[in-house]
């Protein structure tokens, strides 16, 4: 493993971990954020209820 390899690894791992940490911090510290944040997992498509 070269010095360049260590550098790329540390920057990539720290960068991604830092970005995720910052996002978690923002979600936790922003009042009301939990109600407005969404993902594919929790978005309900209305057609499911229509067919039921």
């Amino acid at each position: 493993m070269t010095a360049g390899g260590w550098f790329v690894m540390v920057v990539a791992v720290a960068g991604m971990t830092g970005l995720l940490g910052w996002c978690i911090y923002k979600v936790i510290t922003t009042p009301g954020s939990a109600e407005h944040l969404h993902s594919q997992a929790d978005i309900e498509t209305p057609d499911v209820e229509e067919d039921d």
């Binding site: 923002k26 954020s33 498509t45």
Partner: protein, 539 residues
Amino acid sequence: MAKANQGKEAWATRVGVILAVTGSAVGLGNFLRFPGLAAQYAGGAFMIPYAVAFLLLGLPIAWVEWSMGRYGGIRGFNSSPGIYRSIWKSRIAPYAGVLALVIPVMIYMYYVYVEAWCLAYAIRYLVGGWDVGMTPDQYSAFFGEFVGMGENGNALSTKGEGVLGSAVFFLVVCFVINFVLIYRGLTKGIEWFCKWAMPALIICALIVLVRVLTLGTPNPELPEQNVVNGLGYMWNPSTEQAGFLEALANPQIWLEAAGQIFFSLSVGFGIIITYSSYMKKDDDVALSGLTAAAGNGFCEVVLGGLITIPAAFVFFGDAIREQLDSAFQLGFKTLPNVFNQMPAGQLIGFLFFFLLFLAAVTSSLSMLQPAIALLEEGLGLKRKASVAMLGFITAVGATFVVYFSKDLTALATIDFWIGTFCIYVLATFQVILFGWVLGVERGFDELRRGAEIQIPGFIKFVIKYISPVYLLVVFGFWIHAEFLATPEPGKQTALQMLKSNTVVQLSVGFIVLVIVFFGLLVAQSVKRWERLERQEGLQ
């Protein structure tokens, strides 16, 4: 006391939201496709175009897609052709949406097969189906035989092991699970899964990571094959085969890195735009998109990048390259060696592959929604009829992928032309549509509405100029390399393979057929929308 309980609930809700958002996009692309692709381009050099693509393409275009989807949803459209039509008043607009339907449907055709491998490996660990102490070559040979890499049609046989040795059996199980869930509308359970099983997958991956980093030199006769050199294989910017700048001069690496970012973030995929169309007007899309991207990046780079490639190098050395006919296979050949060398390896092996299988189910279910949305919205079909129709189409495609199993050529071909090339084209179209047709100012207002974070103003410049120029320039260089450049000895360009390999030709022919089929569906949908609009006009 009540206040304390409320505080706990709020905390639990936020943690749940974080897990759901970060977990929803995690799938096979992070743990299996990324390491395989990075290994093909010798790791460290790949990380440069990967990081650039993450910042200049992945994140901005994810925001673009979330915003355009919500914009179209507010105007009553949930399918990509309808959403594009609501943004761009041109007759061509809905036809651009054909790609946004074909991409998730065709990726589903092979993704569900890889999902089946995960389930098969999990069950094999559960029932103790591995012989302890198999060598890396034996694990590799097992995988090749299991998926029928020797000859076309080999995957259809069971190799004397009954259902345990049948890839097709596990494919049918996965197919049934997916379609029962989506047919019965049980996809609401996915959120629950993301909150609980996804952290379990990450914990499991961290345990595996610790074991990989402490592997040392498992075979003293091969001292070069140690974990530090394995990390070097993943992260060193230059290799003996290619210097840093030489590696970066290959346009294919930039195309593949952008394609991987799009694949794992589900950008240019047709999925985000469909799901975000169901959101409310003031829901956040900015922090949601960023958190999903960050969760993905973490799983991909930190877990996927530190586990599979270093472990693969430790067990296979420079012969890794011979294990890479398809990017997805490296993990299946490598990880059993790691589990073989750790306490409770059988349990960890089961948990890892089973949780990966569950993560894959959540991703594959979301791949079906864009086409369902079109069949409902454009053709007026009910959900169950749409699901049944889609079940037939994807079953035909999955059978094609399974049958042409020699060297996994059909899978790798569809993965490249759909999972990289078409995604790339669609992402380019979408960023141009947002920046130049919807208008970057109007688009940015849409992005900022309800945003829980402040999006810096320079992102407008990135979306309008940098992302499209970047995508078009890389595409231009790639076309030049494909048509005019001389490939490295022993390698074929995608177009040369298309000219010389019958299965590649059949696979591309099949892609064209599916594109034509969805094109006809979109044409029907346009007629229906126009008829409805005329009726509304008359009233």
